[in-house]
């Protein structure tokens, strides 16, 4: 299989920094400026959250961002129009809940129920390279996986601290782009340290190494500081994912774009420092 945009970005910029912000928080116009700032700051992939009213995987920080975005009138149609206008070096992914994927372009009345194809087709047209759906486990992913393959997008799967054995095999065999290693149980949100579960998860995943045929592994959930990024990369990750810490900057900084650019640079620096400490594996 040839590398996708996402896999290529991770391999070329290894160790990769992957950033998440909620689109439309506080407006889609500002999201554009923030994405460009993250791109300038060295983010190698950027995830854009498309808000859903019931974000069950999210902690308080991202829940609040989603509420701000919905209150500002963000819709899937306006979201895609914003992405149409974006020009970044970093490939972009959309992160959203399954019902949003199902309902886009659906009449709601069709006999076989809603269809995921219109969403994926529009995502591809807008230039998005991948999709992450936190409430879609491998068991239910057949239709979306097929549509992603049809339109050339990666469907990113999450591996949790509770994922082991056969489930891990199944997920790894379906993964494309990268595997999202959930650093700890619970919801998203910045934490003060790197969880012990992160190290355990990376050890379990070591069998599927990026240098072989496997897809890269990126760690997220709770990562907020450069030294977390370093620790995670040293432990064997190919990338680190940071979200809530950036949402906090958007909510609180006087100049969020400048703050995001600086934070991305700092996190990327941390990841690179972590690689220098990593036991050589390639």
């Amino acid at each position: 299989m040839t590398d996708s945009d996402i896999e290529r970005a991770i391999r070329e910029h290894h160790p990769a920094l992957i950033t998440y912000i909620t689109a439309g928080d506080p407006s889609l116009e500002e999201t554009k400026a923030y994405v460009e700032a993250l791109d300038r700051g060295g983010s190698d992939l950027i995830e854009l959250g498309l808000p859903f009213s019931e974000p069950i995987a999210e902690g308080p920080t991202i829940q609040a961002a989603i509420n701000r975005s919905l209150a500002a009138g963000t819709t899937p149609r306006r979201f895609f129009e914003m992405v149409d206008d974006l020009e970044t070096d970093a490939p972009l992914l959309v992160m959203t809940y399954y019902n949003m994927v199902l309902q886009y372009g659906s009449s709601g009345e069709s006999r076989d129920g809603p269809d995921v194809r219109p969403f994926v087709e529009r995502a591809a047209e807008a230039g998005l390279s991948g999709i992450i759906v936190p409430d879609l486990p491998a068991e239910e992913s057949g239709p979306l996986k097929a549509a992603c393959e049809e339109f050339g997008l990666d469907l990113v799967f999450i591996v949790a601290p509770t994922t082991a054995g056969e489930r891990l095999e199944t997920i790894m065999s379906q993964a494309s782009g990268f595997v999202y290693v959930q650093a700890r149980l619970g919801t998203t949100g910045a934490r003060a340290d790197v969880s012990g579960a992160t190290h355990e998860s990376l050890e379990r995943l070591a069998a599927y190494d990026a240098s072989a045929d496997g897809v890269p592994k990126a760690v997220g959930f709770g990562v907020s500081e450069a030294d977390h990024a370093a620790e995670i990369v040293t432990a064997g990750a190919d990338g680190v994912i940071v979200g809530s810490a950036l949402i906090d900057l958007i909510a609180d900084a006087d100049d969020p774009a400048a703050a995001l650019e600086a934070k991305a640079r700092e996190l990327k620096g941390g990841a690179e420092a972590g690689l220098a400490d990593a036991p050589t594996k390639q």
Binding site: E54, Q103, P114, E139, I158, A160, T187
Partner: protein
């Protein structure tokens, strides 16, 4: 796992974060062994506790004045007589006991009006399990007696401030807790909703309603009923009342939803002034299952409404969606005013104060008795003591034909 095992036709499934999937597999295994195969005598213990602690079996009572009023035989399945005052204990006790058999150390649950929360707190106290209940802040404030009941039974009550701070936000918060504590905690979901195996398991715990009623009606009326009528929020009393009758093709099954103040929705504001999900909803995924939902064209979930807090939910159990799609169950709706009148009518005519939820099923008799055949079973899912405050308030706002004169109070 094949699709047919985790779903009902195209409804159901397991749309949850990966972190919860191993817990669902573990639960599925426990459900199979203890509930379906009676391993370690689980079912024997459950039935004994439902008899001695829960007060089962409940009577099937011929309602003489309603029978006269509607010109047909009306029987009431008296789930209001279950300990706690509603069918909710059938499920709560079953799941808390199962959690014990599974070696879990802690129970969490969501509640809207507080009926499932109080049933779970009672069951947890009875079985000595630590218990935490998530409840929207709005509901905490408008259901104070139920909050006290849960606290008195030793449960912690965690208010949820997100969104409209009602049932759907309470479910979100409970799912988030579970995603964190899944290794030691069981989530006692309150209706036939959520990811597989919850809809099947909760239905099986509630099926005792129709298993008893089916035998009772044959003993008392000498035949099967022409129809069974039950209210539907999430649908647990509904599936409980229907399950044993589903194979009886001559028995019509009516799921009565909350028509609220109107069946129209306000897409702009994201509001549905009703909870008539089966009647007016569209297919989508919420809280772990593909089912009918009240949602905007974009897929955002609507704020629903009903005078009855227990029916106020934008989703519904996937098995009911399937039974409606295959024309086995007929979805109908009854508005706030008809339900309030039915509440007063049953209280006055039969000496039974029904829950506002159950009053929707009773309201359908008034709307469409002529469609229901000669022998009708209505599920009285709960008693109405919990609703007195709401009923007083809502009755004062209206000119209800069945309401009593309360001029004994000084104004």
């Amino acid at each position: 796992m094949s699709e047919s095992e985790t779903s009902f036709g195209r409804y159901g499934g397991q749309y949850v974060p990966e972190a919860l999937m191993p817990a669902l597999e573990e639960l599925e295994d426990a459900y199979q062994r203890y509930v379906l195969e009676n391993e370690d005598g689980f079912l024997d213990e459950f039935e004994e506790r439902m008899r001695e602690f829960g007060g089962r079996p409940t009577p099937l009572q011929r309602a003489d004045r309603l029978s006269e009023r509607y010109g047909r035989e009306v029987y009431l399945k008296r789930e209001d007589l279950v300990h706690g005052g509603a069918h909710k204990l059938n499920n709560a006790l079953g799941q808390v006991l199962l959690a014990k058999y599974m070696g879990k150390e802690r129970i969490i649950a969501e509640t809207g009006a507080g009926q499932h929360g109080t049933a779970t707190a009672m069951a947890a106290a009875h079985l000595e399990m630590p218990c935490e209940i998530y409840m929207g802040r709005t509901d905490v404030n408008r259901q104070r007696p139920n909050v006290y009941r849960m606290r008195m039974n030793g449960a912690a009550v965690n208010p949820v401030d997100a969104g409209s701070a009602t049932l759907k936000e309470a479910i979100n918060a409970t799912l988030r807790d579970w995603a964190t504590t899944v290794e030691t905690t069981h989530y006692v979901i309150g209706s036939v909703v959520g990811p597989h195996p919850f809809p099947k398991m909760v239905r099986d715990f509630q099926a005792v309603i129709s298993e008893e009623a089916r035998e009772q009606i044959q003993a008392q009326a000498g035949r099967l009923p022409d129809s069974v009528v039950a209210c539907a929020g999430g649908g647990s009393n509904t599936m409980g009342a229907f399950h044993a009758f589903v194979p009886d093709e001559s028995v019509a099954l009516y799921a009565v939803e909350a028509g609220g103040s109107s069946l129209d929705i306000d897409e702009e504001a994201g509001l549905a002034p009703n909870s008539a999900t089966l009647s007016t909803g569209t297919d989508g995924v919420l809280h772990g299952a593909m089912t009918k939902l009240l949602q905007s064209g974009d897929g955002q979930i609507m704020e629903s409404h009903s005078v009855s807090a227990g029916l106020d939910y934008a989703g519904v159990g996937p098995e009911l969606s399937h039974l409606v799609a295959t024309d086995r169950v007929t979805p109908v709706s009854v508005d706030d005013e008809t339900a309030l009148n039915a509440f007063h009518r049953l209280s006055r005519l039969e000496g039974i104060i029904p829950a506002l939820e159950s009053s929707h099923a009773l309201g359908y008799l008034e709307d469409a008795a002529e469609d229901l055949g000669e022998v009708v079973v209505v599920n009285v899912s709960g008693r109405g003591d919990k609703d007195l405050e709401t009923v007083l308030e809502e009755t004062e706002k209206r000119d209800l034909e069945a309401a009593p004169d309360v001029e004994v109070f000084e104004r």
